[in-house]
């Protein structure tokens, strides 16, 4: 049971953090040009965005959950199981960020999820 809770914290923490950062970056707005000066100005605005600072601790929590999980369960279970974050993240993108996830994108995400689990399992 504690392994399932740990995996939930790991997956929800990382996807929640990434979704918060994505939302923050979208509200900051893209740099006018991909030149060093414009990108630095963009980063300056990004680090003053509240969603960015919501995302960072969530990702740190996820990393901590990973360390704890590795002490409870074998790495051959933890790392492949964390590939589920691709599917969870896509649900988050669809329902929280309101992205239009087409059938082709869903198919791609599921293949990537299975592929990453197989690669991580070695």
């Amino acid at each position: 049971m504690r392994i399932i809770i740990g995996l939930a914290v790991l997956i929800l923490g990382s996807t929640g953090g990434e979704i918060a950062i994505t939302h923050g970056m979208k509200s900051v707005g893209e740099p006018a040009r991909l030149r060093p000066r414009a990108v630095l100005q963009f980063l300056g605005r990004a680090v003053r965005n509240g969603w960015f600072w919501t995302g960072v601790p969530l990702m740190a929590l996820s990393f901590y959950a990973l360390l704890v999980l590795l002490s409870w369960a074998p790495i051959s279970l933890v790392i492949p199981a964390s590939a589920l974050s691709y599917v969870v993240g896509t649900f988050g993108a669809k329902f929280i960020l309101r992205e239009d996830v087409s059938t082709a994108r869903w198919a791609g995400v599921i293949l990537v999820c299975i592929g990453v689990a197989l690669v991580a399992a070695g």
């Binding site: 893209e30 740099p31 990108v39 896509t90 993108a93 239009d100 198919a107 791609g108 991580a120």
Partner: protein
């Protein structure tokens, strides 16, 4: 250049930058920590490891590449979909497997090759979709709105 095509090209360039920076950063971190050697888990051992870490060139280069990853990641998410960038970035697993075979002469199990093939097909499928399905305000638009 049509807007859609421009968005697709700059998204793919930044996803590629993400993959390269993350992989090179991880490899350099691995090299740096191997040079330092196993860290003794005592106050003295951790202190020594800290001093060796901050004076190791590979570690600093690794940090530089990992910052490059974070900057590319934040920048691409300012216009592209999270559900596009996240699976596309998994291409790094395939690249890392090929690098391990070519440069480190590692043997790779059939299961892992099958996983790499699934990732490649998945990334191609995701890559066919529109990188941006929501309206992302550009800096110019934000400026106009705020003035």
């Amino acid at each position: 250049m049509p807007s859609d095509r421009r968005v697709r090209i700059k998204t793919l360039v930044l996803v590629l930058a993400m993959v390269v920076c993350a992989n090179v950063g991880d490899l350099l971190l691995k090299r740096g920590m191997t040079q330092i050697g196993a860290v003794a888990l005592t106050a003295q051992g951790i202190g020594l490891a800290f001093r060796l870490t901050i004076t190791n060139a590979s570690i600093w280069l690794a940090i530089f590449f990992l910052i490059g990853f974070m900057v590319s990641y934040m920048t691409v998410l300012s216009w592209a979909d999270y559900s596009f960038v996240m699976p596309a970035g998994a291409f790094g697993y395939a690249v890392l497997t090929f690098l391990a075979v070519i440069f480190l002469h590692e043997s790779v199990s059939p299961r892992r090759w099958f996983g790499v093939a699934l990732i490649c097909v998945g990334v191609v499928l995701v890559g066919q979709t529109k990188p941006r399905t929501t309206e992302a305000p550009s800096e110019a638009v934000v400026r106009c709105e705020s003035s």
